[in-house]
Amino acid sequence: MWAIGLPVCSYTPVAIQALFLMRSFYVFVFCLLGFCRVDAQGVRLSGKVVNHAQRPLSGVIITLSGTAATGITDTQGDFSFTGLPAGDYELVTALPGYRQHHVSVKIKTADVYLNIRLSPLRRQLQEVVVADNHVQERKATAPLNTEIVTPDFIQRHLGGSLMKTLERLPGIKTIGIGSGQSKPLIRGLGFNRVVVLDKGVKHEGQQWGADHGLELDQFAAGDIELIKGAASFMYGSDAIGGAIDVKPPPPPPLHTFGGSVDLIGKTNNNLYGTSFRLYGRKQHWFFDTRFTYQNYGDYRVPTDTVYVYDYAVNLHHRQLRNTAGRETGLHLNTGYLGEKFRSVFYVSNTFSKSGFFANAHGLEPRRVDEALHDASSRDIQLPSQQVNHFKLINRSSYVWNHHQLEMELGYQRNFRQEFSHYVNHGYMPPVYPDTMKIPHDLEREFDKQVYSANFRDRITTGKHVITLGINGEYQHNIINGWTFLVPAFDQKTAGAFGYDQYQLNEHVLLFGAVRYDYGQLQLFRYSDWFPSKTSSGEQQYLVRAADLNRTFHSLVWSAGMNYNREKFNLKANAGKSFRMPIAKELGANGVNYHYFSYERGDPGLSPEQSYQADLSVGWTEKKWSVQLSPFYNYFPNYIYLNPTADHDYYYGAGNQVFQYAQSSVMRYGGEVQLKYRFSEKFRTEWLGEYLYARQLSGDKKGYTLPFSPPASALINLTWTPATGKLFRDTYWSVDYRITAHQHHIVPPEKKTPGYQVVNMQAGTKVHLSRQPVLVSLQVQNLFNTRYLNHTSFYRLIELPEAGRNIILSIKVPFFFQRDSQPGVAPGSN
């Protein structure tokens, strides 16, 4: 459907071509890194940036055209570039709320010092033109296909979770359960194939599970960078499908003390919530705290009856029984921001508790006490899940000559519990023994503790920006509960990388990177707590997982170029990525009764490898712009859970055998974005995405991969009327999403019909005082359309997606003390 379907050959010559390309790029990368001689002979260009009141401006992004160099002003407004060869340069400043400033600089042999005064944007005249261009800048210099989302976007498109909010972007989908839990799919790859970074440290939860969400508070997020495509060279194993980098909000402006209150309400699941922020900063020291609370009831679907297999389940008030939940988030960021040295501590704790749809646990139909469940739509009965995620992160940086040293240290603990009534399956005893230490309703428990450390040195020298770094992580995982899925394990990983960005000329920026990783995974023995009947009729406590020790090595690389002309831009990138097998893939040996499956790991799996070629071509005119981003991806050994034809009655209690296996896989697809501005007030945007995946070998040769999102397009129309002085930045916007059917399926999936959904957004900034109050209104699924989402957890039992949902959110900033400079409220830019 649409113009997004890129016709591509699906036979092996493409793969051969791709491999050939990889080899060429290997040579290229080494050449690039090889001739990076550090040239300390050049000239120094430095200066100071101040505002109209002569106060120094910090956080100003300074770029030098013709080089790869970018810098940021410190708290004194000072910046400097060293090692510049003689030549003509243009220096450009960028700071939200201020006009962009261009200075031409001629560098010969002497050092140059500049005094730059920035004038604030006159907001009345500049309403439509968004002053902030850090997003464009970052996109132009990022090596991979990158989308950047600001807190404004989150406010406008607020979904049930942070990942759900991001789903509007082309190429991003989610695998979700209920109204509050979802995890990201980037171009069809998810789970452990996408890395989520939170404040520079890899977020580690239970990524492998489809019924688990991601423990992030969307109110506490700053800018979010989404990298579509293999990014292992930057983030290590798991970034094979892409990365989502959730940045903290920028520190508060100098000499301020203030905060904000967010109020949120949703009609579909009767959610109410608030997020309260309080921050303050002197010169160097700051604090930033936040408390978020959300409470929601069962969500509603546009139908009175759902069919779990052939059994009709009547829904009370069209509510999915027992899908209510609560969430809290506590955050404290504090630290020192000096001229050269910065060190910030981030402490956070997120907690959530939510129910699973009571009439089915997994795919298994359940009989329920309807009177008990329907008495309240807000209570959480069994089955349910509860997760607490604690994080302590320190981020420090030090600027020394042309070195920028950065460090992140992190500790996190993810504690997840799943509760259900004890139901004996297979050979479990009919009555739960009272001698058991495990609570009778604790079905599963995962307790993960993670220690992480990253060190980087960013060296700016001449036309090169070289980043050298190392990462390390140690994980300790223990399990509990009366069912078994994944054994307890310890995991150690370490990686070292080098990355060079080289400004070839005014238009061409080249990238090259290599990375080496080492990983060790140690799985611990698990045996059943109940005996099973063997083929000889004996009773035996089955050993589900044996002790296992595996080590992995990997060398990956990436190379690419950016070509930027005034109207034309091109980004090309190719690379190799990898992923270490996870504990579940190596050590699973248990029955997932809720899926009628017996999952069997393979202790001999090799690390997954991926070769990817990416392209992004764009053209920008005054009134319109177009961007096309195709990709091609080849996996020689993709790891997947293969449903076989066999049943196993010994280890599998009569269930179908799902065996972890590896096969070669090719995938291609892309996204297209078209923007057109009819007038100052009207604009339209067309987003499209397409993905095709095919297994080229193995038992499922010819089939696609699980959770392949169907093609879809989004047509947006936005009206930004001039509404006077009191109401500013007013917008009315409508999203029309057309999703094609998905007939490319693999066992145990079902074909999903296409659907069309309309969402609406409206909002304004009310200028009652100096700080505007932000009001946003959203209507999701305007026509209360009944549809199935192919990547939803509940797809297999035919549960439709949520019906109409009206979301109102209000943000009220307040100040006790503020600087005289006309800034923008931190976090709201």
């Binding site: 071509q17 390309l21 050979y427 009919p430 179908q656």
Partner: protein, 158 residues
């Protein structure tokens, strides 16, 4: 550098304009196998009653569009009413009770290779000393590609 440019261009051309015939994915099997218990002699059916001490014969018509895989039978108690059958009809359940020595039988049966239809005739002896009450009779059928169809029948053992 020139070689890279050429390779890149070649790859791009293939990516953008390479039209190589229709999608071959359509040829893969995406059909679930079927368990048919509508025949007059099929047993058990939803709400069937089985006597303790007798041997029943599990008779069902299994079929697939390409090739059958294997079939598995699981008989377990439903005294606690926690799980539900997959069927439309609701059998009258006895009150919830605690199991003493419930009947449990799990067995998988391979189906001879290359068959599209298969008629089961599997003898299942039900011991005389098991608890009477509500039970589930679960049939799991796969085809060669790994598609699985499940039928969960509510039965009574008296």
């Amino acid at each position: 550098m020139k070689r890279i440019t050429t390779s890149t261009l070649a790859a791009l051309t293939i990516l953008l304009f390479g039209q190589c015939g229709k999608d071959k994915n359509e040829s893969v099997d995406t059909t679930y196998p079927e368990i048919n218990i509508t025949a007059a002699d099929a047993f058990p059916k939803q709400c069937s009653v089985i006597k303790r001490g007798e041997t029943i014969v599990f008779r069902a018509q299994l079929s697939d569009n390409v090739q059958l895989g294997s079939v598995s039978v699981d008989i377990h108690h439903n005294f606690d009413h926690h799980t539900h059958s997959t069927e439309v009809e609701n059998c009258n359940l006895e009150p919830v009770k605690t199991p003493q020595s419930p009947f449990l039988m799990i067995k998988s049966f391979p189906i001879p290779a290359g068959l599209k239809t298969y008629q089961t005739a599997i003898e299942i002896p039900v011991p005389a000393n098991v608890d009477a009450g509500d039970y589930h009779f679960m049939i799991r059928l796969t085809d060669k590609e790994g598609w699985q169809t499940i039928k969960g029948l509510s039965i009574k053992i008296i």
